[in-house]
Assembly symmetry: C2
Homo-oligomer: 407 residues x 2
């Protein structure tokens, strides 16, 4: 087996991972869980990336501290409260890890805290004290969906992905969960995403793989241009697959990265496609760019344009707005020879050639734009590099959700 | 008289300026004009700034060319068609200037073309041929409002401002018009704004005054984060006030700049307050910043946040979103000691102190946020610099307008 196969499941798909979720009373919605616990039977080499927002959630300081040794065994994550801009946030996050350590009989320094929700409301420790023992009890290899549900805020569905592949004859798995929806303009990590793998890989390489990977997956997602204070992606590699440890960037490392890419892109698309109030997943694919970073910026600029996002909502192939968004991207290229097509399951329509209008069938274009996933293909004809970005349409519902979030 | 006084009127308020507007059949809405002509009885020293979007309207190339000598006498501007990404755009824009030159008996090189509207639809010359002679006939010192109306697209009201002041005992006037509404995220010029003044000032200094001025007025406006392909601000100074020519940056130059600032900020606020679909003018005032550019970026980041804009629509003092937007602004400052208040005609509410929550009366905060103009006061406590930025709330109507713009 040489290929990478997408399988059912999420963060517990790999060997030795368990998860659970429960309602602890932190969030207001008792219909769903608000506290998730992820656990690996053995400590794993772990890597994380965080938001670049200067206003950071308190949990990030604790997670960074606990990851100094590159090892983690559990993650505790609540929704309903961001634990950001609160007076005692770090203390609470630290205490959470101690409660988990006690319940699981592991080291507090191997527990990573995370949080998402409203900013500026002090977080109490009582819900954690009451619920962590129950979560520890409930931990199971089937708990991924429950955990993914517990970290949701305005997400409308849970986000899981898992893949298997072989390394030296051993079956390896990478699986993850994520939450998205609002305040999504990823610059570093994403909202929250937790990935578990049984691949044996060194601390250095798992961090390198994650840091490189986010550039073309999580960092290319935007729902609303707002980079959250809480963005965090964590990968825990517990080594239980039994492959020879990956210690340098050879073929095995490449395969690991390819598999990680599939999981990360899938979760990224799920985050974008479930953007607050959205009806469609919007993908931009830029080719012919002079450099990789420029390709990323042009793709992201298109999926971030409020004007084009509103046009996508209306299934309007308003390519002038695409050209406009390409033009203000921070990338140095020749803007005189741009081709643009819109594509979906219905078909493909070329709407702009050589940076000028071409005749096209407006009714068919509307049909193409009416699908649940719409891709904009952009060829800059000024180089060899390409990149993708993912966003969503801008809808009445987005305004409604965000005009009434706190109440 | 030492002060600068706001007076009635717009781009024709200064001596020697005339304007007219008419419906030429370029736009679809025959209820309003779509072609404006501005004229100065004598050629004036002129300065312009343009969009930084790499995809530029065709008229910009012609305007740049005609302004190489720093002199202009007339501006011809249509709405309903951006003359952008069209095969013959430059040719059409050039031809427009020749038609104006012929009708007015002036040099085509002293005529500046401008346009706004849909991107990518070829522009015909016939409407200009048919309407420019009529416009030349109609030119009048009372024509500013008519011209301001003709350049509107989705703007709901016309935008004019004028001020008078004295230089060496001579009454001087600066007046302008602008259009705004959508695709507004100014980075260099603005949508379209034309300013006429009778001040006698050298070409170099009128350009310097404009280039400096836009940093704290037009460039601090954002409706939707989309930098247009057509942004242009032009100032024509015809010298008819009879003051001693301003040739160096002394007291007279400072007074000219102060007066220009009042006009530019007033028009900027009118653009922001008439953002597509908006109900409120949102102002951010940042103080205590380590540097001027950083102060501007933080202010602009807050008025650009889709999440906070939606909260403003709902009159929700959701300060966590303000902190989030401050935190992702590209400015280096200490994020641990930020104070935030929301203010309006109703009063002031402190919502965040030392980057943490403070108790406040939610009902009163909602009343404060319900006014037509809402100001967010932000003190970073990390320096002496300050800046303003202007935006608007994000509403259902914005989505509606932009989901149906072309149809």
């Amino acid at each position: 087996m040489n290929e990478i196969k997408v399988i059912e499941g999420g963060v517990t798909a790999a060997k030795g991972f368990k998860a659970a979720g429960a309602y602890a009373g932190i969030g207001k919605n008792a219909e769903k869980g608000d506290l998730a616990l992820l656990y690996s039977e053995v400590p794993g080499n772990a890597a994380a990336v965080y938001t670049k927002n200067k206003v950071k959630a308190a949990h990030i300081a604790v997670t960074k501290d606990h990851l100094q040794d590159g090892v983690a065994q559990a993650i505790i994550c609540n929704s309903g409260n961001a634990n950001t801009c609160t007076p005692n946030g770090v203390e609470i996050a630290q205490k959470e890890t101690e409660l988990v350590a006690e319940a699981l009989g592991i080291k507090a320094a191997d527990v990573l805290p995370a949080a998402t929700g409203v900013i500026g409301v002090p977080l109490e420790i009582a819900p954690f004290e009451n619920t962590i023992p129950e979560l520890a009890e409930k931990l199971s290899p089937e708990g991924s969906a429950q955990a993914a549900d517990a970290i949701r805020t305005t997400d409308t569905y849970i986000k899981e992905c898992a893949v298997t592949f072989e390394l030296n004859g051993k079956t390896c798995t990478i699986g993850g969960i994520a939450k998205g929806s609002g305040m999504i303009h990823v610059n570093m990590g994403t909202m929250l995403s937790f990935i578990g793998t049984d691949v044996k890989i060194s601390k250095e390489l798992v961090q390198k793989a994650l840091s490189d990977e986010i550039l073309d997956s999580y960092n290319q997602v935007s729902v609303d241009g707002d980079t959250s204070t809480n963005d965090t992606v964590v990968v825990v590699a517990n080594g239980l697959a039994g492959n020879e440890e990956i210690t340098e960037p050879g073929d095995d490392y490449k395969k690991f990265c390819d598999a990680l890419h599939i999981v990360a892109v899938d979760l990224s698309q799920k985050i974008a496609g479930d953007g607050e109030g959205c009806e469609k997943l919007l993908e931009a694919h830029v080719t012919g760019a002079p450099d990789k970073d420029g390709a990323r910026k042009v793709a992201k600029s298109v999926i971030c344009s409020s004007l084009f996002k509103a046009a996508v909502f209306a299934s309007d192939a308003n390519w002038g707005r695409i050209l406009c968004a390409i033009g203000y991207a921070d990338c140095d290229f020749d803007a005189s020879n741009i081709d643009v097509s819109v594509c979906s399951a219905t078909g493909t329509v070329e709407v702009c050639k050589g940076s000028a209008s071409v005749p096209f069938d407006d009714d068919f274009a509307t049909k193409v734009m009416s699908e649940k996933k719409v891709t904009v293909e952009i060829d800059l004809h000024d180089g060899e590099e390409e990149a993708y970005a993912w966003g969503c349409d801008l809808t009445y519902k987005y305004v409604e959700i965000n005009g009434s979030y706190r109440s």
